[in-house]
């Protein structure tokens, strides 16, 4: 949709730029059909007589895409019945309507511009959020990756869960488990980040919950783990402490 609107706006500006030359040309060659001068927008619903068609098509092809002229010809063929009526309608207010037309066009362009700008703003904001989440070293996602790497290489965890260990976050309604539940808070003026995610190994029916907390280092500004421990959720419950730097 947005793409279409952009294309349409571009096309209109092109047409506005070229209209003057077209009109001059047309008036010179076909005196009888001076009504074309007042045609507000060139594409859609052109009321030009059939005799004009080749020239129009040529100009059109030079200016815009080729498929456009095909569309134009079809429309012309279909709407040739009510051609005269429309022409007479436009004949009435040819010089006077230009100012109103300009205002109308400007208003429409402005609306489209606002829509495009809002869309771009929203897109940019969301992309910023995503890139911050994926690439900044203090994002929950990065800390999650680091914590999982530490947990994965811990021999006690491997012994309990079995070798290919996989991890996931909270399950959403649509079966996605990508979002890790996290909590950020300030303690003693330092930022803390607490994470909770789940791991599973090759042992069937065995699930574990990993809790971790990391604290911002004062000098480097990066997160360092305070503790990581794994709770086994199924019956012989126990806790494996992977790292404890408190």
């Amino acid at each position: 949709m947005a793409y279409n609107q952009i294309v349409r706006a571009l096309r209109r500006s092109l047409q506005q730029k070229y209209r003057a030359t077209q009109v001059g040309y047309l008036v010179h060659t076909h005196r009888t059909v001076s009504t074309v001068v007042s045609m507000p927008t060139f594409h859609r619903r052109t009321e030009a007589p059939i005799s004009l068609l080749p020239t129009l098509c040529c100009i059109n092809q030079a200016n815009t895409a080729r498929c456009f002229s095909v569309d134009f010809r079809l429309r012309n063929k279909i709407s040739s019945g009510d051609r005269d009526k429309s022409v007479s309608r436009f004949q009435g207010g040819s010089p006077a309507s230009s100012a109103a037309q300009k205002v109308k066009n400007a208003g429409r362009d402005f609306t489209y511009l606002i829509v495009i700008l809002v869309g771009l703003g929203v897109t940019g904001g969301l992309l910023y959020v995503v890139f911050q989440e994926l690439f900044s070293s203090s994002s929950p996602n990065k800390v999650y990756g680091k914590a999982f790497n530490i947990v994965k290489s811990n021999p006690e965890v491997i012994g309990a869960f079995g070798e290919p260990i996989k991890c996931y976050g909270e399950t959403t309604r649509r079966g996605r488990r990508q979002q890790v539940s996290h909590m950020e808070f300030q303690k003693d003026g330092l930022k803390h980040l607490r994470l909770k995610f789940y791991i599973e190994g090759s042992e069937p029916g065995l699930k574990g919950t990993v809790h971790s907390e990391s604290k911002e280092n004062v000098e480097t500004g990066k997160y360092e783990f305070r503790y990581i421990f794994v709770e086994i959720d199924t019956y012989p419950r126990r806790t494996i402490v992977v790292e404890d730097n408190r």
Binding site: L127, N141, K166, T171, F229, V241
Partner: protein, 159 residues
């Protein structure tokens, strides 16, 4: 929260396929109805008939192409989860890009790259919405519970 839910992965493909078909059929149906209504000869009867006809012809096609996209996307996503053993936003973004590339494979490598970028950006946007939602809900949880009371809960760490 459902703790003992079964593994979502292979079933999710069917789920996503159907969801995408529904979404495409309904959304495309509305769109095509409006388009057919506007693009008809004058007269309310013609307009209604043209709208209904456009929906009948086009909506299943749109739903089908949505379903292909959703199914392929979910398949690649599950494959990546299986290979990497990790579920994070990268899976979605990568599989969105790969889906775009695969579905444009017949139009040549340049189109494939463009389509892959479109898919990746689209999925990145969706992930962005998801991340924002999680952050928002996390903010709510933080207000609900007091963080300073939680550290004594780590009973295994008291040594």
């Amino acid at each position: 929260m459902e703790e003992y839910i079964r593994e979502p992965c292979p079933w999710r493909i069917v789920d996503d396929c159907g969801g995408a078909f529904t979404m495409g059929a309904i959304g495309g149906g509305v769109f095509q109805a409006v388009k057919g209504f506007r693009n008809a000869p004058a007269g309310i009867g013609y307009r209604l008939r043209s709208g209904a006809n456009a929906v009948r012809v086009r909506a299943p096609q749109i739903g089908g192409s949505f379903a292909v996209w959703g199914g392929l996307f979910s398949t690649i996503d599950c494959g990546l989860v299986r290979i990497r053993g990790k579920e994070d936003p990268w899976n979605s973004i990568t599989s969105g890009a790969m889906t775009g590339a695969i579905l444009a494979a017949r139009s040549g490598p340049l189109v494939m790259v463009g389509s892959a970028m479109m898919g990746g950006i689209l999925l990145a946007l969706i992930e962005g919405v998801g991340i924002l939602l999680t952050r928002y809900t996390a903010q709510q949880f933080q207000n609900a519970e007091d963080p300073s009371q939680l550290p004594p809960k780590d009973r295994g760490l008291g040594l």
